[in-house]
């Protein structure tokens, strides 16, 4: 049920890796848990992130949570649409709800993340 071409973190981010570029968002599981998303704060282009570090925050009506980067590298693109329409993350978490693109320092970091099947088991264990 989770896209097989993506990798997943324990904090419910997904990564689409193409060469050394990683597109990052959050999963539909995370978006549903949060409920209606009303604000997303993302880093500026040029920010350097390390894996496990916060790259921003997400607020739903009922809760706030941190966004954790699954990989290290430099932010090269930010989804500007989310500033005015954060609900895209509720509606299309795996496509138009993407958040940032990171130019990875070490693309092998992606191998440490979960496959769609592993993530599915992880969710089941969490529920």
């Amino acid at each position: 049920m989770y896209p097989e071409d993506l990798k997943y973190s324990q904090s419910h981010e997904w990564v689409r890796a193409e060469d050394d570029l990683a597109t990052i968002g959050i999963t539909d599981f995370a978006a549903e848990e949060l409920g209606d998303i009303v604000n997303i704060e993302l880093p500026e282009v040029g920010t350097t992130l390390s894996a496990g570090q916060s790259f921003g925050s997400i607020d739903s009506v009922k809760a706030a949570s941190e966004l954790i980067s699954p990989v290290s590298g430099e932010v090269v693109e930010v989804n500007e649409d989310l500033e005015s329409t954060p609900e895209l993350v509720n509606q299309e978490p795996f496509s138009s709800g993407w958040m940032i693109i990171v130019k990875m320092e070490d693309p092998s970091e992606v191998d440490l993340l979960m496959t769609s099947e592993e993530y599915e088991h992880f969710i089941e264990a969490e529920e």
Binding site: G35, V38, N39, E41, D59, V61, A64
Partner: protein
Amino acid sequence: MKTPVLKEIHVRLGARMGEFAGWELPIDYGSSIAEVRAVRNAVGVFDVSHMGRLTITGDGAADGLQSLLTNDISLLEDGGGQYTLMTNERGGVVDDLIVFRRLENEFHLVVNASNHEKDTAWLRNRLPDSVRIEDRTPDTALFAVQGQRAKDALEAAGLENLNLLRRFHIMDGSISGISVRVSRTGYTGEDGFEIECKKDDAEALWEIILSAGSQFGIKPCGLAARDVLRTEAALPLYGHEIDEDISPVEAGLMRWVKLSKGDFCGRAAIAAAAQFGVTRKIMGIKIEGRFVPRSGDAVKCTAGDGSVTSGTFSPTLGCGIAMAFMPADAKVGLGVNVNIHGAQRAGVIVELPFYSRKNKPLEGTQNVS
């Protein structure tokens, strides 16, 4: 954890359940923003069976309650009710509640779920032995039907004489043969009703309300929407704007404290605070943009430091809003900075409430002035 009698029905309606005051309750049924809009524009129904409901009866009930509550219950006629506070000797708020007079010495109290047991003990220890306290909560359910179409929805459900039920009044009635106790009260800033029935009738009544309300766009609503609605209407929440160490003077609730009615528990302390002034007061803050302030966020302004007590995103206003303890001499119009996720976000102190149905913003219109 206590579960509401209708838990299975909520889950079937798509509710996300969560913990509040020791109860497992519906947080939302998919979209809390859609639920807020339903209540602001039409009607919504909440299962609030967790609210504590007590019947106080017997000789001395009226005098006893008058000596423990801040509002003046001698003003109530049979069937009348009022918002009131129960305060301790230091003038701190033990709880906020609604008291209805059913008969001369019979009162119906609706208290916070989180304070239900504390309130019962507080009353038992202070009311005379001739007064009985009956806990209706375990045997009944309570639904809040809220919004400008709430009356239409309940009339369609077959509830009669709603025209005679004034704001903050309570009456007995019946819906499809189900006996109910109905009050014209709520926690949303809209017109609305709260309907109590026997636990065994809860499922049938819930279904009747949802089905009768469908032509008016009724939605089942959860706690997340309830919190947004009450924050927009600047209604206090126990543990946030009020608690045992907060005076009604600080919380801005003196409208419901009648210092002239005679002595009551906490009167001297509250009178002193009113006379000599307090250093902090609850004020409203509107944030510039969609940033969402949360309880505990630090506030800075030229008048000094403050702290957010309740914060949320307001779908009705389209921006972040907060109630906050601010230095008492801070004024409406003063700019502030609120620390949200580690960044200083600009806001301004505004009059409370943020929303009232008397000056409702019209959907889809621009402010051209």
